[in-house]
């Protein structure tokens, strides 16, 4: 929503609404700026204003900024009624593995098949194939490194499907870095003996009780 009201004449408002309505894909604000001969910023502000009006008036449509442009789309609340107008295949769900692979591509792009497999710990060939076939991921070229691996990145369609304007609208990956309790749990789970005197001195200590932590463990768990 815009911070300040822009005052444009009714002709410009009409033009912007009409252009977006006539479009078949999101319209970049520069295109509209050229057509109505106004700065891009004004278009952006006008669009925010229009979007806010629709929302305030309880309209069944929204003016959304998606994949770099503006488009009309139905209001999510009306979904039960418009479901039947969804084109076939659009609603097909992605499997868990496909989603995880997609998430890695989204945050690590450009990324090679081998890098994806390394992170997932499984072969991603089939999953990647699905994502490419569905148009969420594109092969964008080859890396100059040895073997010239194909590199993959998310597509424009991915942004559209996610309903976001650009990749920078993705929540930062830092948000998902496991919290310290999880890290600690993992560290504890993978605890390594140091082979020092601690164990030799107390070979009988009760492992199961988790009390026989040596100094290395203390460092890891921060106790």
């Amino acid at each position: 929503m815009s911070k300040r009201e822009v005052s444009v004449d009714i002709e410009t408002r009409r033009a912007v609404e009409a252009i977006v309505l006539a479009a078949t894909e999101p319209v970049h604000p520069t295109v509209m700026a050229q057509l109505v001969e106004l700065p891009v910023e004004t278009i952006d502000e006008l669009c925010s204003q229009l979007a806010a009006e629709y929302e305030a008036q309880g309209r069944g449509f929204q003016l959304a900024r998606v994949a770099g442009g503006y488009r009309f789309q139905t209001h999510p609340d009306a979904y039960p009624y418009v479901e039947r107008f969804v084109l076939d295949g659009q609603t097909a769900r992605l499997s868990g593995p496909a989603l995880e692979t997609l998430a890695i591509v989204a945050y690590k792009q450009p990324v090679s098949r081998a890098q994806l497999s390394a992170i997932r710990g499984v072969n991603v060939d089939a999953t990647l194939k699905t994502l490419v076939a569905r148009g969420y991921v594109d092969e964008i070229g080859h890396d100059p490194s040895p073997g010239n691996p194909s590199m993959f990145a998310t597509s424009r369609l991915f942004l559209e499907r996610l309903g976001i304007d650009s990749l920078s609208d993705l929540p930062p990956l830092a948000d998902f870095v496991p919290e310290s309790s999880v890290v600690e749990a993992l560290e504890r789970g993978l605890l390594l003996p140091t082979g020092d005197a601690a164990e030799a001195d107390a070979p009988e200590s009760n492992l199961a009780a988790g009390t026989a932590r040596d100094s290395a463990d203390l460092d890891l768990t921060g106790e």
Partner: protein, 279 residues
């Protein structure tokens, strides 16, 4: 997807390891070696078909864990090589880093899924302009270069990879009816009936299921059990006959089956034939 296993799904060894450590909230060092091995083996066995890459990865991680744990259980050694020591920490840190990566993207994927779901509730207008604008628009094909058409054809016609694993090098499964009878007898309850499905619980090989079926036919023939199937393709119920109802198991007649499950005998007895009609 290489694997679409029924719940709980562990799509890879990291998945499973995360589950073991986080969901079950256990210290891997506090649970027995055999439990770790069992969990990994169970997951490998659960796989519908064999993916060598994935299986290898599972086994590698399981082996790493077992090795780390085994070291932990050994009494302290004074002769520890410093390089070896460092390597162990490196191994562990590597595993830890990969687990953290895995967890991070799992969570990111969950949020992305929610976002996709939410976004899919808004449908973009695609109707485009109405007339007369529609006819004003330049022909879209005019904007398509021949190259683009060829590229599209190649994309569309590219052979689709269908993963199929060569199994020539895998030892064939040998399942004998005799063994299956023993297994079935062990699984049957003292009283009451069970479904055939329960007698094949956890069995993934089609051949083994067939052999178990042959086994219950044989037991039926021997008068050890009673079979009931109410409708075609319906539930097949197996009920052990009480001691008074049955005759002694005639092991001698089993020789006919040999060790190879060669299918129902041509000279099959009356009872199995009746069952076949019901099946």
């Amino acid at each position: 997807m290489p694997y679409e296993v029924s719940t709980p799904v562990f799509e890879g060894p990291f998945d499973l390891l995360l589950h073991l450590i986080l969901k079950e909230e256990v210290d891997l060092w506090e649970i027995s070696l055999s439990r770790i091995v069992d969990a990994f083996c169970a997951e490998v066995e659960r796989m519908d078909h064999v993916d060598l890459d994935l299986t290898t990865e599972f086994l590698l991680i399981a082996a790493t864990l077992v090795e780390l744990k085994a070291r932990r259980l050994l009494p302290g050694r004074d002769d520890v090589d410093l390089d070896e020591e460092l390597m162990r920490f490196e191994e562990r840190d590597l595993l830890l880093a990969r687990l953290l990566d895995c967890k991070t993207f799992q969570d990111a994927a969950r949020v992305m899924h929610e976002q996709l779901q939410a976004a899919s509730r808004s449908i973009a207008r695609t109707a485009g302009p109405e007339e007369p604008f529609r006819s004003l628009a330049p022909d879209p094909l005019q904007r398509v270069a021949l190259d683009a058409l060829v590229a599209a054809a190649r994309r569309a016609l590219a052979p689709k990879i269908v993963e199929e694993v060569q199994t020539a090098h895998i030892a064939p499964i040998r399942a004998s009816v005799r063994d299956a009878i023993d297994t079935v007898l062990a699984l049957l309850p003292e009283h009451g009936a069970v479904q055939f499905r329960e007698l094949t619980y956890g069995v993934t090989e089609k051949l083994e299921i067939i052999v178990r079926f042959l086994a219950i036919l044989e037991l039926f023939k021997q008068g050890m059990i009673d079979l009931e199937q109410v409708e075609n393709f319906g539930v097949l119920t197996v009920r052990p006959l009480a001691a008074g109802e049955r005759v002694a198991l005639d092991l001698a007649s089993l020789e006919e089956w040999g060790d190879e499950p060669a299918g129902p005998r041509q000279s099959g007895p009356a009872q199995p034939a009746r069952i076949e009609e019901q099946v």
